[in-house]
Amino acid sequence: MHQTVLFTSLVLMMAVAAIFLFSLSRSGAGDGSKKAPKLGALRFVLFIGALVLGAAVSIGSLRPWPRAVAAGADVVSVKVTGSQWSWEIDRKTIPVGKPVTFNIATTDVSHGFAVYDAGDQLLVQSQAMPGYINRVSYTFRTAGKYRIFCMEYCGVAHHDMTDEILVVAQ
């Protein structure tokens, strides 16, 4: 997912850059006519294309709802509380393959709860906001140690606000 996002972005950025380069390479005075080309039709096609693409991408990327919270009898519920500058996690051993719902709270300022895998890839995250409990779900597929980082700047020891959870096979 991470690399796909990067790759897609870089390709699209290069496409935009290519359009710039194409136009600029033809910015020299042409054969007499200095008028900008009449490209109203092209602009209209681009506009409609952008709308159609946008609708397709929106529907495709929002179903299923990307912030769905798992609920049910077999869901493992974990309570996470952030405080300057440490996490309190009420259940640090989590079974593999079961949906886990993190209930995230804070005792002071906003924090960001994020789970990183052994390869330092961010898997799932949510804000911790004073006065609220944010919920986010994830199903771990591999057993092992996972690191917890703080993603929302919360004061001068923000980067030290780390912890660990253990995902175990049943």
Partner: protein, 486 residues
């Protein structure tokens, strides 16, 4: 085109508070270079090339954030003022008040950070200014908030004057936003692009300033009376609404330089078409409604607001890419444009803004945001359209403002500086994007060893960007100083 009297003099017709505009540009160059140096320091610290205390790092981070946002807004407002005065009557003293309040605010902000130790990030996210873990005291946070309020009051005065002058000339905002052309195709007295842009900016930046002032005063009261609490979700909505609109406005104001200067090069006026008017009117709505994409990771936000955030993030790219970028490229096509520092920088500004929109829109998707939010992807995308967008537009305007009568082409040190800046800026932002895809969090004073290499490469590009900007601004600064003395 107005010609220069002699090399070294400025040939542009002066505007009300011409001196204040030039002073703003000088201030911009100084603040920009200082804040870029702060940025380089932070990247080097992350890459373990230097050792700095995390407390100092987060102070630098706070200063870098508010300094860059502030100077982007200030320089954008100077560009808009300069060109709007060609079309409506502005009172020069108002810009001086705006600039004066800005300077006083900046002094307060710098004092709060480097004397008072405030390091709550520029976003002053409630309740962090009040709860520092014992690092800074209430006075420092209060001074910071007061500094931001002063800058905000300056902007309010500025926007009201712009609105007043636009109404004086066009009767009302419906006319100034081109509604007669948009809705009934009336061709008489259609406002020029600058006026349409200015009217749109007054509407959305005015609203954001009012909301920002309210949340700043509330945060200030909360500092001294902690029992007066604020709903953290409401505060976050207000702060991000204000912050998002404000920083976007800095780009929208600067883009006016393209509408006004590029036609001098292409000998073709920027046409106000129905689609141009429609896109600016759409921007008024889009720029205000899009801020919820900052709150995707807050599960307590209503789902409709998050869906709106994703859809409007995408939609915001359409007026930019299909109207502004597309128009610029068609104007340049076969235009025989003369490339000098100003024209190259202005086109770069639209280029940086356009390519920056790509990672922005992609991160504006909830499923992507789940893994990219608050990673270095975020500074990656916004450095594209700030460092290579807003800054390029501002430097392009400054280069044009201080142009000499000699028709200089892009050569010599100008060309070298420009190339180093462009490559440095691109590399710097792309390293951030790669780091984001590697899940490196943003706003961390110290990094894991496996992240150091990326930080070091990023530092190298940062150094190049500073070097490039330095080479570009050296002659500009000299001519600005000379013209202000004369």
């Amino acid at each position: 085109m107005a010609q220069a009297n002699a090399p070294g003099t400025i040939s542009a017709p002066s505007c009300p508070a011409d001196g204040a505009v030039k002073l703003t540009m000088l201030l911009t160059v100084a603040v920009l270079l200082l804040m870029m140096a702060f940025g380089l320091t932070m990247r080097m610290a992350q890459g373990a090339l230097i050792q700095i205390d995390p407390t100092i790092f987060y102070r630098l981070m706070t200063a870098h954030g508010i300094g860059m946002v502030g100077i982007a807004g200030m320089s954008g407002s100077a560009i808009m003022w300069y060109f709007l005065s060609r079309h409506v009557s502005l009172a020069g003293w108002v810009f001086w008040i705006h600039l004066g309040l800005f300077v006083v605010g900046v002094v307060a902000i710098l004092g709060s950070i480097f004397i008072g130790g405030y390091a709550g990030a520029w976003t002053f996210l409630f309740p962090l200014p009040a709860i520092s873990g014992g690092v800074w005291d209430v006075g420092a946070a209060a001074t910071y908030l007061i500094g931001v309020i002063l800058v905000g009051v300056g902007f309010l005065v500025y926007l009201v004057e712009v609105g007043r002058a636009v109404i004086e000339r066009y009767g009302n905002f419906a006319n100034a936003l081109g509604w007669p052309l948009l809705f009934s195709g009336k061709q008489d007295d259609v406002p020029p692009p600058t006026v349409i842009a200015a009217a749109a900016i007054v509407v959305f930046n005015g609203i954001s300033t009012v909301v920002g002032a309210a949340v700043l005063i509330i945060s200030l009261i909360n500092l001294y009376l902690p029992s007066f609490t604020l709903d953290a979700l409401l505060a976050k909505n207000m702060i991000y609404f204000f912050g998002h609109v404000f920083i976007n406005a800095s780009i929208y104001m600067a883009v006016i330089a393209v509408y006004e200067i590029v036609p001098e090069y292409t000998q073709q006026q920027w046409k106000v078409s129905r689609s141009f008017v429609a896109s600016w009117n759409a921007v008024v709505f889009l720029v205000m409604a899009v801020y919820t994409h900052h709150l995707f990771q807050d599960g307590v936000m209503p789902a409709w607001a998050l869906v709106m955030g994703q859809i409007i993030s995408y939609a915001s790219g359409i007026p930019l890419l299909v109207i502004t970028t597309f128009s610029l490229l068609t104007y340049l096509y076969r235009s025989g444009i003369r490339w000098d520092l100003a024209s190259a920088l202005l086109v770069t500004g639209i280029f940086g803004w356009s390519i920056g929109a790509v990672p922005a829109i992609i991160d504006g998707m909830i499923s992507v945001n789940n893994i990219m939010h608050n990673t270095q992807w975020v500074p990656g995308h916004f450095h594209l359209y700030l460092l290579l967008g807003q800054v390029a537009l501002t430097l392009g305007f400054s280069a044009w403002l201080t142009r000499t009568g000699v028709h200089a082409s892009l050569s010599g040190w100008n060309a070298r500086g420009f190339t180093i800046y462009l490559l440095g800026g691109m590399g710097f932002a792309i390293v951030f994007l790669v780091s984001g895809a590697s899940s490196i969090p943003r706003r961390w004073a110290t990094h894991l060893p496996e992240w150091h290499l990326q930080d070091q490469v990023g530092s190298l590009f940062a150094l190049a960007a500073i070097l490039g900007v330095g080479i570009i601004v050296l002659p500009i600064t000299k001519r600005l100083v000379l013209s202000m003395r004369g």
